[in-house]
């Protein structure tokens, strides 16, 4: 109920009806503020997603175009073909390898970070954040320069008498590039998880004659598990769909899922197959993300 006085002053009386209309008004306001982005994302995200789904059931015609009539699941069946399977397993394997290497490097680092004084810790964190958001293409390109013909890497291996190693255009180079690119994705959630742990619990485990390994295994690791899971997913998902890194550092024998999808669109012109593959990639991503949120992680 509202009473409007002669002046512009509004006197609001908190009756139940008034509360209700006020609430409704608030809800309308909230919706109005969300609406532009909502519509934008429906138009330029949800609908495109739907189009990919439709294309994945369509047929490629003889001219490299796509016939939308006559739906079928052929594109999905093709995933079982040996070539595709090889690429899928290779992508999976390299993504897992990247995740494990990141975990092994990042865990002690995140722990070390969390034991520093707050002022130092903040500076250290900023220097992890900077590569996190810095141009990914250029950071991968830097490795191309380092690993390249007669480059710094060769100099180092020669200096140590290890002979010349050809890393560039191999799977090792791709993993190196991926680790380099995604290591911050592992460090940040791990740090967030470890930082929250009460240090007294570790002290208690020491007091109870647990050695370092036992304290780690029985106290630190279980308590930091949400960070381990979050970081692993954040590294695994983009590694699985990586396209830029294998293009720059990989060779002919290192085609990964991401590059394979791009090939379907830009050169092979088999759009339904490419659409099916990207849909599978997205499904994997979605599954992992649901696990991530289930575990209560929210650290990006």
């Amino acid at each position: 109920m509202r009473k409007r006085e002669s002046t512009e002053h509004v006197v609001e009386v908190a009756t139940p009806e008034f509360e209700k209309t006020a609430q409704k008004k608030e809800a309308r306001r909230g919706l109005l503020m969300a609406l532009p982005s909502y519509l934008y994302l429906i138009l330029f995200f949800v609908i495109p997603l739907g189009i990919v789904l439709i294309y994945s059931f369509a047929t490629r015609n003889r001219f490299g175009g796509t016939d939308l009539s006559g739906w079928n699941v052929e594109s999905y069946e093709r995933i079982a073909e040996p070539i595709v399977r090889t690429i899928l397993f290779r992508s999976l394997w390299l993504a897992i390898l990247t995740t494990v290497i990141c975990l092994v490097i990042a865990y002690p680092f995140a722990y070390y970070l969390s034991t520093r004084k707050p002022a130092i810790r903040n500076v250290m964190l900023v220097f992890v954040m900077i590569p996190f958001w810095t141009n990914f293409l250029v950071r991968n390109y830097a490795w191309r320069v380092i690993l390249g013909n007669d480059g710094p890497f060769t100099k180092v291996t020669e200096f140590f008498g290890l002979g010349t190693h050809e890393l560039l255009f191999s799977q090792k180079a791709v993993v190196l590039g991926l680790v380099y690119g995604y290591l911050p994705f592992m460090i940040l959630p791990l740090y967030a998880a470890i930082e929250r742990i009460d240090g007294q619990l570790l002290e208690a485990s020491r007091d109870l004659y647990g050695n370092g390994w036992q304290s780690f295994k029985n106290v630190l690791l279980p308590l930091s598990m949400p960070g381990v899971i979050a970081g692993s997913i954040l590294v695994f998902v983009p590694s699985l769909g990586a396209y830029v890194t294998p293009e720059i550092l990989g060779g002919a024998k290192t085609t990964l899922l991401g590059s394979y999808i791009v090939t379907q669109f830009l050169t092979a012109r088999n759009w339904p197959f490419g659409a099916a593959l990207s849909f599978v990639l997205m499904a994997v991503m979605l599954l992992m993300t649901i696990i991530y949120f289930r575990k209560g992680g929210r650290t990006l």
Binding site: V138, D150, M285, L300
Partner: protein
């Protein structure tokens, strides 16, 4: 960690060494790239005396300059629109309840977590269909270029801006806003004079982040760019695939430095306390 247990002995040394190695790993390649961009040698990874000629070549290359101009134009448009839409979504999600809020919340996260390649494919197919429909209905002959790239960048940047602004809003108590409203400020006035100044650092951080992501994107842009109309990263990516040249070194360093500068500023803005 509260009441951290200071690591001792061997494990302390191990942790310290690991820490230094991680930073070395992060920054050595960047430093080397910068050094080699000043090298006279035609071999990109070899030192051959100091020169600025690769930077001069960048300035002289009209292709590169065009691509840079395109990148900047797109980044400006994308930043402005993403900041407005992202901030509004953040406010809606943090300060209001409304129908469909949960769906909207989930939808906002999707562009962040979806693989680049999938999003690129989605938008490629979308613009193909969309332009065809426009052509059939209105006879409009649109081509991929400025607008298709901008629209795509905004589609993922709304989410990033809203995450940054939300983080700011979530850490802020509503006391002041409520006090303002109690003192007969209209909702708009309360926002303008109380909420907005407080979340400004978050908005600035989000803006710089959106700009960085727009300037850096390769995969999605490559799919929605038109013939003869590319951005600097897509141009560089094309060059790298043809074979590395010292020119790429110099362009890369320019991209790297501007990208790091923007990120640094963005982190600084987010860390600013009150009244920034």
């Amino acid at each position: 960690m509260s009441n951290a247990v200071e690591p001792r002995g061997l494990s302390k040394i191990g942790l310290q060494i690991n820490g230094w190695l991680v930073y070395l790993f992060f920054y050595a390649p960047i430093v080397l790239l910068v050094i080699f961009s000043f090298s006279e040698s035609r071999n990109v990874g070899k030192w051959g005396g100091f020169t600025l000629s690769w930077y001069e070549q960048f300035i002289d290359s009209s292709n590169a300059r065009n691509a840079l101009e395109n990148s900047i134009k797109i980044a400006i448009v994308v930043t402005i629109i993403s900041v407005i839409l992202g901030t509004m979504s953040a406010l809606a999600l943090e300060r209001f309840t409304f129908k469909g809020k949960r769906v909207f919340d989930a939808l906002l996260y999707l562009p962040i977590i979806i693989p680049d390649v999938t999003m690129a494919v989605m938008l490629l197919l979308f613009f193909g269909e969309f332009f065809e429909i426009l052509d059939n209905l209105f006879g409009l002959q649109l081509r991929k270029g400025f607008w298709s790239i901008s629209i795509s960048h905004i589609a993922f940047n709304i989410s990033f801006v809203s995450v940054v602004v939300r983080a700011r809003l979530a850490g802020m108590s509503t006391d002041l806003e409520e006090a303002a409203v109690d003192l007969y400020a209209s909702r708009w006035k309360a926002f303008r004079h109380v909420t907005f100044p407080q979340i400004l650092p978050g908005i600035a951080g989000g803006a710089l982040l959106a700009m960085t992501l727009s300037l850096d994107d390769v995969v999605i842009t490559q799919f929605v760019a038109g013939p003869g109309w590319t951005t600097l990263p897509v141009y560089v990516f094309g060059l790298i695939r043809k074979g590395v040249t010292p020119l790429i070194n110099s362009i890369s360093v320019i991209m790297l430095v501007s990208s790091m500068l923007l990120v640094g500023l963005s982190l600084l803005a987010e860390r600013t306390r009150r009244g920034g």
